[in-house]
């Protein structure tokens, strides 16, 4: 019996609530809870940090998103570094599957942005798979301009919304 587990779950929930932005980490809570209840294969960490291999771990320690220029889907040098960390992380946790969610800012038409979001997610997946991650572990979905991470109609919000986000696939 490990009495620190309930405390760990609570901590994970609180952290998820703080770092959540929009729909991207909608299943962060449940992911944290299920990893915790399964006991995990890692040694218990301090209750203040995210449990390794979880969505919170991705968000806090790895970086769960990459950003794109307006109407572009190519990965920048910085973005490639982030995707390389995703690849390493997925090799460390071979049971994890992920969905890459592609998103756009609001400065385009709805259907075009659905396609552009798909293109961005695919661009990230492509690089991830080229780094040796099994393509069966990586799904993609586009939300177009429908799920902004940051509300507001200004350059700063738009830059943060032109993104691909990696989310642990609970299915």
């Amino acid at each position: 019996m490990r009495f620190n587990i309930p405390g760990l779950v609570v901590a994970a929930f609180v952290l998820a609530a703080c770092s959540s932005t929009g729909d991207d980490s909608a299943n962060s809570g449940s992911t944290g809870a299920s990893s915790a209840s399964s006991g995990g294969n890692q040694t218990a960490t301090a209750p203040t940090g995210p449990k390794p291999g979880t969505q919170q771990d991705l968000e806090v320690n790895i970086g769960d998103r990459v950003f794109f220029a307006f109407d572009k889907s190519n990965l920048t040098a910085d973005s490639r570094t982030v995707v390389e960390r995703w690849a390493a992380w997925l090799k460390t946790y071979p049971a994890n599957k992920v969905v890459i969610q592609g998103n756009t800012d609001e400065r385009g038409t709805r259907e075009y942005n659905l396609a552009l979001g798909e293109r961005r997610a695919d661009s990230a997946r492509d690089y991830l798979v080229s780094l040796g991650v099994d393509s069966n572990r990586v799904k993609i979905v586009s939300f177009g301009k429908e799920r902004p991470a940051v509300p507001g109609s200004n350059e700063s919000a738009w830059a943060q919304n032109r993104r691909a986000v990696v989310v642990i696939n609970a299915n």
Partner: protein, 450 residues
């Protein structure tokens, strides 16, 4: 996948009979007409007094029907209903000529005289005559029998008859709008498939908002809607049956399908399928379920819309480096770019008259709604804004609806989209009130045929 939602009852049949009377006087001057092709015209003064009621049950309808007609005509921008307070007299009988002398001082060019009766079986019978006040002759007349619940449709059909007789163009009042109702801040917005009459009445939410839904379009029979839904976070094209609320997944694609539209004969749905960062246009035959690929290009090809004769398709593609409009044959052959102006072009929609294509244009950060001929010539921008998007045509090809969205603030507020209509001439832009915000309007292809 089958799911159910609250059914929407279809309307009962409307029995219509033309009312003929021998003209009592010969036309003494040119016919009363409104030419709606000429931009900002002076609206025609028209008097729409309360209909004559046979009894107390009919009285409510007699007032409400006149009001709906008056509102329809006013909203079209082509008519100016005269304030009822100014009326000198009320029509007392449908069977005799009106006292034109009482309407001329109001400068009423046209007069609508109507009557409502409740039949012994409870059916509602509404009759009306449209009079040219200064020529003192009847322009048209109609008698309609239907259920009492159908009274709004009666008012819309009468409005269409008046509009057609005076403008020479088909009316568009007995029509519906399917659209996406939106509420909540921009980063937590709830979107629901919704339907309403063209004037906003009889509004219904068709989905519960738990699933993201987008871009609905009517089938030609109006019994079905094709749209994009994110069941299980998988964006796919579905068919939604309006009567039963049942939904059906279209096709077995390994990735996102989106941007669906019916073919004009209703036999197939054209849509985009995205795979590996590449979106191409496909068409599915709804009977055989066979899918045919129409574009094969590494670019984003989407937003396909058929010409009314079904022979051509307009779509958008960024194959040339930026989002532009292209036309192809219905078999995918003869792909040709038609938009060459500055900026990006998307969401093309072929006019039901075949003569124009409406689109969204983004130029220097501003969005526009515009039209061009199918060969790309004659581009004309009708309205602009921080975001205006997604035009849809009224079935007469004279009026467009679209959605408009302002900037949202740091809390995601202020940017809720709203529906607007505008004349093809660029005048008479008006908001269509909805219970919450609205986007992606699609006008029904005509009146319900039943």
């Amino acid at each position: 996948m089958m799911m159910t939602a609250p059914p929407v009852r279809t309307l009962f049949a409307v029995l219509a009979v033309l009312l003929f009377t021998a003209p009592l006087t010969l036309p003494a001057r040119a016919e009363l007409t409104v030419d709606i092709t000429q931009g900002n015209i002076e609206p025609l003064p028209i008097a729409v007094p309360n209909f004559i009621a046979s009894d107390d049950v009919a009285r409510r309808f007699s007032i409400d029907i006149a009001q709906v007609i008056s509102d329809n005509l006013e909203r079209s921008g082509l008519f100016r209903p005269i304030d009822k307070q100014a009326f000198i007299s009320q029509p007392q009988s449908l069977g005799v000529n009106p006292r034109f002398a009482n309407w001329k001082p109001l400068n009423a060019q046209a007069l609508v005289v109507g009557e409502v009766n409740i039949e012994p079986n409870g059916a509602l019978r509404a009759s009306f005559r449209l009079w040219d006040v200064f020529a003192e002759n009847q322009m048209t007349g109609l008698s309609l029998t239907t259920t009492q619940a159908n009274w709004r449709r009666v008012a819309h059909i009468i409005s269409d008859t008046i509009y057609e007789r005076i403008t020479g163009e088909a009316g568009y009042f007995d029509t519906r709008i399917v659209y996406i109702a939106e509420n909540g801040p921009s980063d937590r917005r709830v979107k629901r498939l919704s339907i309403m009459d063209q004037d906003g009445a009889n509004h219904r939410f068709l989905t519960d908002g738990k699933t993201l839904v987008l871009t609905p379009r009517f089938s030609p029979t109006q019994q079905e809607i094709t749209y994009l839904a994110y069941f299980n976070d998988q964006p796919r094209v579905y068919l939604f049956n309006i009567d039963t609320g049942e939904q059906e997944l279209l096709g077995d694609f390994p990735g996102m399908t989106f941007a669906p539209r019916f073919s004009p004969d209703g036999d197939s749905v054209i849509m985009s399928f995205a795979e590996g960062g590449n979106s191409d246009i496909h068409v599915m035959d709804l009977r055989t379920r066979r899918v045919r690929r129409l574009t094969d290009n590494p670019a984003i090809d989407t937003g396909a819309s058929y010409a009314p004769d079904g022979r051509k398709i307009v779509f958008e593609s960024d194959r040339g480096g930026s989002q532009q409009l292209y036309v192809m044959n219905s078999d995918g052959g003869g792909q040709q770019r038609i938009s060459f102006g500055d900026g990006r072009y998307g969401t093309p929609v072929w006019s039901p008259r075949g003569d124009l294509i409406a689109f969204t244009k983004i130029f220097r950060g501003t969005f526009h709604i515009g039209v061009m001929r199918p060969d790309g010539s004659g581009e004309r921008l009708l309205t602009r804004g921080f975001l205006v998007e997604g035009p849809t045509w009224a079935p007469n090809g004279r009026v467009l609806m679209f959605f408009r969205q302002e900037k949202s603030d740091a809390r995601g507020l202020g940017g809720t989209p709203r529906l607007f209509s505008i004349d093809l001439t660029g005048f008479n832009e008006r908001e269509l009130g909805t219970p919450v915000g609205g986007s992606d309007p699609a006008w029904s292809p005509g009146p319900l045929r039943q």
